[in-house]
């Protein structure tokens, strides 16, 4: 969730779904969820099966440790003299206490070098990343309640899992990292998969609730500060169409929310409607990877943010793959005659898989724009050019 807050005027709320309807939708969703639990409780006990004498508890984890170095300024917490304080890790416990019920909890730690988000303590140490209860209603229908990953684009649910990512992180302008993003939502989610004929498939997610994300901006003393902004009354969804071409899927989705506690010049109690749409193409063929995503966000009548990227890769051998990506983001602000070129990022990287769950990566980024995190960029000045590289090792089990 990318939200850029260099602001000149305060917009008018123009949400496409009125707030009271969203509140009502969330309430109705929770009521339906409770009803489903009650209605299906008896069969759940009856259907509880022997899982073959195996443990019902599974434990998984991942670690992605990096060395990162930037030239031209601090970008994404990467300083010019380099840092090894750059890491994502998580430990997940999943307890499937019947064939239909699971309880999942995941703890995580993120280090972002010299990012102001980290400096101000918002990343913390080990944090509760997710906790949710999941109930399988039918063969391909599940409902979950708690704190769970938001299905947004190709990568939001696996934002930090180095073993599944082509680079250290997914394209930053699209997904964010540390600030302007939330991997999770507190609320309720419904998932449905459909098989359409022999070779077409559809996956649908609906979710409702709220989340908090960090914004960087100016406080009342005009000092750089991180603001925990609340996104309330979130209502969103995602659709993925699986095509007859094995490995090719097409997705789209979006959400709306009511945001509160934004940086200057918004007063603390100001509420603004946020809308967000995305579309994705994800082709994971035998030797080739091709991904393209587009995202459009609007904060009331205030700003509009557009980001798109294309990412390609080829497996040269079973172990070695090379990837390249180009990402572009534009912002429209009231008072600016033309779009602000928020970022242009060209990336080239190599990925070596010792095993599918032990991967070394190296990547080089040519970045130009206004998305460096310290100091806050001045959109009236020329864009800042920061080139950086990241060398990382990712492991999972």
């Amino acid at each position: 969730m990318i939200r850029h807050t260099r602001s000149e005027s305060i917009g008018v709320k123009t949400g496409w779904i009125p707030c009271h309807l969203v509140n009502k939708a969330v309430s109705v969703g929770l009521i339906i969820f409770n009803l489903l639990i009650v209605l299906s409780a008896a069969p759940a006990v009856a259907a509880d099966i022997d899982l073959g004498g195996e443990s019902k508890l599974t434990i998984h984890g991942f670690l992605s440790q990096a060395y990162a170095n930037a030239a031209g300024g601090i970008y994404l917490g990467i300083p010019q003299d380099g840092t090894t304080d750059y890491r994502n890790t998580a430990l997940q416990f999943r307890y499937e206490y019947s064939s239909k019920d699971a309880f999942v909890i995941q703890f995580s730690e993120q280090r972002l070098g010299e990012s102001p988000v980290q400096a101000q303590g918002f990343l913390g140490d080990v944090q509760l990343n997710w906790v949710f209860y999941e109930r399988r209603l039918f063969d391909n229908t599940t409902i979950k309640v708690g704190k769970f990953p938001i299905p947004l684009g190709i990568y939001n649910e696996v934002l930090h899992v180095g073993t599944v990512l082509p680079f250290f992180r997914p394209p930053f302008g699209f997904y964010g990292d540390g600030s302007y993003t939330s991997e999770t939502i507190n609320g309720v989610g419904l998932y449905q998969a459909l098989q359409m004929g022999e070779s077409w498939g559809l996956e649908a997610d609906l979710y409702a609730g709220g989340f908090t994300f960090i914004q960087l901006g100016l406080d009342q003393n005009f000092q750089l500060a991180a603001f925990p902004t609340e996104a309330n009354d979130v209502l969103g969804g995602a659709l993925w169409l699986y095509t007859p071409i094995e490995g090719l899927r097409i997705g789209a989705g979006g959400y709306r929310s009511t945001d509160q506690n934004e940086p200057f010049p918004f007063p603390p109690d100001h509420k603004i409607t946020h809308t967000d749409w995305w579309a994705s193409l994800d082709a994971r063929l035998d030797r080739f990877l091709l991904q393209a995503e587009y995202r459009w966000e609007r904060e009331g009548n205030f700003w509009t943010y557009k980001d798109y990227y294309i990412l390609g890769g080829v497996k040269l051998t079973k172990e070695l793959a090379v990837h390249a990506a180009a990402e572009f983001a534009d912002m429209e602000y009231p008072g600016f005659a033309s779009n602000i070129k928020a970022t242009k990022d060209y990336t080239l990287g190599a990925r070596y898989a010792f095993r599918p769950n032990l991967i070394a990566k190296g990547e080089y980024h040519l970045q130009k724009g206004y998305m460096q995190d310290d100091p806050i960029p001045d959109y009236l000045a020329d864009p800042v050019k920061v080139n950086y590289y990241i060398v990382s090792l990712a492991v999972s089990f």
């Binding site: 259907a47 099966i49 022997d50 899982l51 073959g52 004498g53 195996e54 599974t58 998984h60 991942f62 998580a90 997940q92 999943r94 499937e96 064939s99 999942v104 995941q106 997710w130 949710f132 999941e134 399988r136 063969d139 391909n140 979950k144 769970f148 990953p149 299905p151 649910e157 696996v158 899992v161 073993t163 599944v164 998932y191 998969a193 098989q195 022999e198 094995e246 490995g247 994971r284 063929l285 035998d286 030797r287 080739f288 080829v314 079973k318 898989a353 095993r355 599918p356 769950n357 999972s396």
Partner: protein
């Protein structure tokens, strides 16, 4: 433009020349299972946990072979149409997005057979023909 096509043809030829390991595997179930044959596509769905119940409504317990084994590679290639490492990557994505866990893994044919014997609703695969009590081979169509 000519250079573009040359590069394109090069990568295309790399793609189509990928070698597929032609190994043998035998899909086995407990002899209490009424099935005698299964569609390859259905087997893939079972192992991807997109189908969770046998036609009689019982919960399916798929069991996989150890990572890196040649029989697992053959099974992945022929049943899923993907390499074992691609399937592993799929499960990494499912696990760490909180959407599920892969089938149970066993370290050898013997362990898979023992599991099938002990669990009437299990399905597995082994690298050589099986002639053991309480276990039968399913024909894969």
């Amino acid at each position: 433009m000519k250079r573009f096509w040359v590069i394109g043809l090069f990568f295309f030829s790399l793609a189509v020349s990928s070698a597929f390991g032609e190994g043998k595997f035998y899909v086995i179930v407990n002899s209490a299972n009424p099935l005698s044959a299964i569609e390859g596509g259905e087997l893939s769905k079972i192992y991807m946990k997109k189908t969770s119940q046998w036609p009689n409504g019982q919960q399916i317990l798929p069991v996989d072979q150890a990572e890196g084994s040649s029989v697992r590679e053959s099974f992945s290639r022929e049943v899923h149409g993907k390499s074992a490492s691609d399937i592993k990557a799929y499960w990494e994505q499912r696990i760490f997005s909180g959407r599920g866990t892969p089938p149970l893994e066993k370290g050898s044919d013997g362990e898979v057979i023992a599991y099938i014997k002990a669990n009437p609703n299990a399905v597995g695969y082994v690298s050589s023909p099986v002639s053991e009590p309480n276990v039968k081979v399913l024909k894969v169509n």
